[in-house]
């Protein structure tokens, strides 16, 4: 087996080798596709999990990370569906952005059923914040202001219109009973950092983003986090941020990170990868990485994870229809 694995690695024809029928699955030259350029969240997911997989000796050789960017992950998705459909040694990094785009048909002709969903390795919870000198103190107050006069509050976020940062605000607005959520004003910037800067400069009134983007600015006292969109208060240093739930708004917005695998991956291989990601999640190494990168617990795998992704896609589809983004 080892000889075969070495031959596969040497010939670089991993896809060919992997498609040979495997009895009980043993990983050979494993690969993780990051559907974006080096440096982004998907790249981080592949590299850190790949490293942990090898450190824990779950895979025999270091996981090769391939950056396949384009179309907000769509290029990688269609590549996997069209060309790597039965590759047993391949996993692909995914996040809320993946499910949001699938829901909105932003990967042309693709659906979630064309791949197998492996599991999550953590989540970054959404926050809604205002500048430190804003008179608004709670999420409820902010949303009531929006209700009274939608043009009085502009939300800045790092994703495109219809993207995850936008949807979080809309979900919260709906929970507060705002009927015409199309009136909620959202301004799209390139990334959370730029959006926070605009809030600090007073060009917008509120910020929507992920906790990891906002924490530094909250620590320095520049912004006030009105609510974190988590089911309950987060552990440790993050416990000081109130949740939306305790303010009477039942809103949870988790930007999850995880993996999917090719749709025709064998059941044995799929079971192996589900177990592998589970082991990584449970390891001390991974706990350290989560702590240092601000990832919060979200532990789903196999069927539970698939159901979770489906639920997210359904919700996103409904709200995207409501704002007229899709028909």
């Amino acid at each position: 087996m080892n000889k075969l694995a070495a031959a596969c690695a040497a010939s670089l024809l991993t896809a060919l080798c992997a498609s040979a029928p495997a009895v009980a699955f043993e990983p050979a030259a494993t690969e993780c596709i990051a559907p974006a350029n080096p440096g982004g969240g998907w790249d981080f997911t592949c590299r850190q999990v790949g490293k942990t997989l090898y450190d824990l000796k779950i895979v025999p050789s270091p996981v090769q990370v391939t950056n396949l960017s384009g179309g907000g992950g769509g290029v990688a998705y269609s590549e996997v569906v069209a060309k790597r459909d039965s590759d047993n040694d391949l996993i692909v990094a995914a996040s809320s952005a993946t499910s949001t785009r699938l829901a909105q048909g932003a990967y042309p002709g693709m659906t979630m059923g064309q791949v197998r969903w492996i599991g999550s390795i953590g989540a970054d919870y959404g926050v809604i914040a205002v500048a430190k000198d804003s008179p608004i103190k709670t999420l409820k107050e902010l949303l009531d202001k929006v209700k009274a006069d939608p043009s009085s509050v502009a939300f800045a976020g790092g994703s495109a219109v219809g993207g995850w940062d936008h949807l979080k605000v809309l979900i919260a607005a709906k929970a507060d009973g705002i009927d015409d959520i199309r009136k909620v004003k959202y301004v799209a910037f390139e990334g959370g950092g730029e959006a926070v800067t605009q809030l600090l400069g007073g060009h917008v009134q509120a910020f929507t983003g992920d906790l990891s983007e906002a924490k530094e600015f909250s620590d320095s006292g520049d912004i006030r986090i009105l609510a974190v969109l988590a089911p309950k208060r987060l552990p440790g240093d993050f416990a000081r941020f109130p949740t939306a739930k305790e303010q009477g708004l039942d809103v949870v917005g988790a930007n999850w990170r995880g993996f999917y695998a090719p749709g025709k991956m064998s059941d044995d291989a799929y079971a192996f990868w589900v177990e592998a990601v589970k082991k990584v999640y449970a390891s001390d190494e991974w706990k350290g990485i989560m702590k240092s990168s601000g990832l919060m617990p979200l532990d789903l795998d196999g069927a539970a994870f698939t159901a979770f992704v489906k639920d997210q896609i359904d919700k996103t589809t409904a709200i995207s229809k409501e704002i007229g983004l899709i028909k």
Partner: protein, 505 residues
């Protein structure tokens, strides 16, 4: 002086054998990466990130290595701009305008030395600026909302006519082409795909690196094929001469360098503007100040000093918002930011207090890298030039290969290669028609940002256009834009330059 004490501490951090060695390696690789067409600072740094991780470097040495590459690439970009008329990276675009004509006049050595010194002045002063002005400049950056950004990009376009060509109509056509190309992709404000024909590869729009390499490098190869080596004046054969600057030339350009540094630094500090805008505005400003008839575009030393001082100063300036706000001021700092995050260092308002070793070690390393780069780029520039002095018939296949490998390396997508070839053929035809290429690139680069900021501003104001001139800063920028647009037209009536356009503009 708090900053000076911190800086002294920074030098203590940076002056270890390992860090000095890494800075040296970074500078050397950076210069080569910058000099090779197609490999710009952002992909150069991106390519070396795996190296830093493989070596298992801690945060400070890793970031020293990568910022040395960044500064090195800023120096190196000029070499191929001057000798080959192909910008080594996108900020060195403006250096082709006067650098290459100088080289063709037999002043390649002077042009390289002068631009090396201008680069040194630009980045040295910008690094000083980083030390003393970082906290202050963060506040200036905050004044820029979408409306102010829109005015700023309009300023860039208003002054465009004066930059690249003497034929305003062709400049305009080229800029319009660029703006049109910038429309391709998913519209950020509505999520609707535009001009993508359902092709997922076009959803992210046209990568300007692909456009640059296609328009410049591939069209260069095509032009060479057409002439099949008949021209012995081929760019690779440009005589280097002595790499020194006559004192008179320095005397004539020192004020230019200082002005360009100031302008470039400010452009770098503004998030999203970056080094290209820095060199662009610096060049336009100098050209405007000199008036027509000064020989800009025909090998004017000031036209070499300005963009080089400008883009190196912008490179330093772009570190200010990255370190102080966590907001990258350019494509390369975006990559550096990602690297810092991967090393578990979160740039932002608290970085200077939380990780003083990293910040001040980095700043000290920048000073050291600068001196190293000056030494590498003056006496040793011949070494880098030799890479580019290979006869054209050997060089061109190399250029083609590096273009293909470089572009494939960015995205791993064959679609980008096809896109690059399309741009190459288009660039070839446009050069035949004497249409300048620089405005196309600027259109692609700035048009996208310009549109986004206009629409952001209008969303904020509920469609009220008056937000565009709603602040004193916006009004000031608009005034500059109008003056910048009208001045060349008025002055141009009196002084018509006689020099013909060079092909590759």
């Amino acid at each position: 002086m708090d900053a000076l004490a911190s800086l002294a501490h920074g030098f203590a951090v940076a002056l270890t054998l390992q860090n000095l060695g890494l800075a040296f390696v970074g500078c050397f690789l950076g210069t080569i990466i910058g000099a090779l067409p197609g490999l710009g600072p952002s992909n150069g740094v991106a390519i070396l990130i795996p190296l830093a991780f493989t070596l298992g470097l801690p945060a400070t040495p890793a970031i020293i290595l990568l910022t040395s590459v960044y500064y090195g690439a800023m120096y190196g970009g000029r070499i191929s701009s001057i000798l080959l008329n192909i910008p080594g990276d996108e900020p060195a675009l403006m250096t082709t305008l006067d650098g290459h004509p100088m080289a063709r006049k037999g002043q390649a050595g002077e042009a390289l030395a002068l631009s090396g010194i201008a680069s040194f002045v630009g980045s040295l002063l910008a690094t000083c600026g980083l030390v003393f002005l970082a906290p202050l400049l963060v506040r200036v950056a905050l004044l820029f909302g979408p409306a102010e950004y829109f005015a700023l990009f309009t300023l860039a376009f208003a002054t465009l006519g004066g930059v690249a060509s003497r034929n305003q109509a062709k400049s305009l056509i080229a800029a319009a082409l660029g703006l049109g190309i910038a429309l391709i992709g998913v519209d950020h404000q509505t999520g609707v795909p535009r001009f993508t024909f359902g092709n997922v590869h076009l959803y992210d729009g046209i990568n300007f690196l692909v456009a640059i390499v296609g328009l410049f490098a591939i069209s260069e190869v095509l032009l060479f094929l057409e002439h099949r080596g008949e021209g012995e004046h081929a760019p690779g054969k440009v005589a280097l001469g002595r790499v020194t600057v006559p004192l008179a030339m320095l005397k004539r350009t020192w004020a230019t360098m200082l002005r360009a540094t100031g302008v470039g630094f400010l452009a770098g500090v503004l998030p999203g503007a970056g080094a290209s805008l820095g060199s662009f505005i610096a060049y336009t400003l100098e050209k405007g100040l000199a008036g027509k008839g000064a020989g800009f575009g025909a090998g004017e030393p000031r036209g070499v000093a300005a963009p080089e001082a400008g883009n190196n100063a912008a490179a330093g300036g772009a570190l200010v918002p990255m370190l102080a706000l966590g907001v990258p001021g350019s494509g390369t700092t975006a990559v550096l930011l990602a690297m810092l995050l991967a090393l578990n260092i979160t740039p932002g308002p608290l970085l200077f207090q939380r990780n003083p070793d990293v910040v001040w070690g980095l700043i000290a390393a920048l000073f050291i890298a600068n001196v190293m780069l000056l030494l590498m780029n003056l006496p040793l520039v011949g070494l880098f030039v030799r890479v580019l002095r290979i006869p054209t018939r050997y060089l061109m296949p190399g250029v083609a290969m590096i273009s293909f490998v470089g572009i494939y390396g960015i995205s791993g997508s064959t679609f980008d290669l096809l896109e690059m070839i399309v741009f190459g053929v288009a660039g070839y035809l446009l050069r035949k028609l004497d249409v300048p290429l620089v405005p196309i690139i600027l259109g692609i680069l700035l048009g996208d940002q310009m549109e986004k900021n206009l629409r952001r501003a209008l969303t904020i104001s509920d469609g009220d256009w008056s937000i565009l001139w709603g602040s004193w800063l916006a009004i000031a920028i608009w005034t500059l834009a109008i003056v910048g647009f009208l001045a060349p037209l008025v002055i141009g009536r009196f002084v018509r330059p006689k020099v013909k356009d060079t092909v590759a503009q």
